[in-house]
Symmetry: C2
Subunit: 226 residues, 2 copies
DNA sequence: AAAATAATGTGATGTATATCACATTATTCC
DNA sequence: GGAATAATGTGATATACATCACATTATTTT
């Protein structure tokens, strides 16, 4: 791998904009690019965590084993860092990451990353800011997940896929009904039923995994009110 | 306020151990100590966030307005930082902090704090580590909250109060049944019923707010299994 | 292309827990 | 210390959703 490639890739990250050329080179030298197919595991819960991952391209789900079922914590879309909390926060991963679309990821050695944090305060300041924003998002996601009924949670995730992930009112679901159930914490059957309810109400149009949002305003209301 | 006091106080924080004498002095100079009584608000959701708070003494609840009820995100026990994510992550607070016991807190000016992050990489590294650990904890809390039934969540919080907060099998609940409901996301009535169920099963002993844990092993099993 | 496997839809039934209603007991306040 | 207010306990009823059961349809695999 060449330094040139890495610096181009990492320049998408706000934090890495603070890195100097030699620092980027240093990162590039301990950085390995890996391609994943749909379904491939990028890192696994309980395995030793030794890399920060920079998602160059693709879409990933973060999974954690709950007391009753695996929970999809959130989806992460490139470009972004992956596994910052789980790699910096403990020796062992507290969740898994699995590609749900063809994905390219850079594995950055944790010691190199830590070193950059220590020698470049602007870089580390941006990382702090990003961690803080993530945590705030996570608080909101969590409260919504607990307090909203499933209809509202489902609406929320459909909107999220439409506006954040695919930036289109029509898209192909990257998840099975079972995975959607793990995301909104319900059963597969309920997902089926509620999707066809939304369809009957002409709020969305569903054909297998193909989804089109017909009434975004109403979907937003459902997402907010529960 | 004197520098001497502040450095003593902040030395309890792992991150602040990396601060030099002049840096501690700098922090001390833009640091105000405030005493709160039970029920006092320390900072409020949606207000402009301008301070990092170091909890010297006491116990605090973090509140966020949910779509259906206020949610208690978590309890925070001194000594710890308060409002790191909400102050660094946005201009405005995403949650409130309210004292639930007599509490002493130091308000550190955000600009001073940011400056220290920029000039002292070891300090900022520790803050990153703490943020990461918090986020991991939060993931686990969230999954437990969604997947466990209320009996399990209640057990979990009773254990937490016993082992983390009061470090005793007997303690006085710092929350009303209503607040416990906001914590485990249920109704006041259900909290009443489940507490007396736990009592009938001889797992805990309840007299008003006074609680004694009689069968910790079983309580842990309930907390884990749901 | 056939066989095997995985994903999905849909009815019937059960249950945890919300909600309403009201009685009882603590706390706070003047 | 009595009045007002807040906190708590407990029954009856309603409901969102889980779970089970099975039919149907996609998707892989060979």
């Amino acid at each position: 791998m060449e330094n040139k490639n890495c610096s181009l890739c990492l320049f998408k990250s706000k934090a890495a904009k603070n890195l100097s050329d030699p620092e980027l080179k240093q990162m590039g030298n301990s950085c390995a690019e890996v391609v994943f197919r749909k379904g491939d595991t990028i890192f696994k819960e309980n395995a030793l965590s030794s890399n920060i991952i920079y998602l160059q391209k693709g879409l990933v789900k973060l999974l954690i084993e709950g007391p009753h079922q695996t929970q999809i914590l959130r989806l992460k879309k490139a470009p972004c860092y992956l596994g910052l909390p789980t790699t910096m926060g403990d020796k062992v991963n507290h969740y898994s990451a699995v590609a749900i679309e063809p994905t390219t990821a850079c594995f950055i050695d944790i010691n190199t990353f830590k070193n950059l944090l220590k020698i470049n305060p602007d870089f580390s300041f941006e990382i702090i800011t990003e961690l803080c924003r993530n945590e705030l998002e996570q608080f909101h996601r969590c409260v919504k997940l607990i307090q909203n009924q499933i209809y509202g949670r489902l609406a929320n995730h459909l909107l999220n896929l439409s506006t954040e992930v695919y930036e289109s009112t029509e898209f192909k679901l990257p998840l099975t009904r079972n995975e959607i159930a793990d995301l909104v914490c319900t059963s597969r059957e309920t997902v089926s039923r509620l999707l066809s309810d939304l369809s009957k109400e002409k709020i969305i149009q569903v054909d297998g995994k193909q989804v089109r949002i017909l009434n975004q305003a109403l979907l937003e209301k459902i997402s907010d009110k529960g």
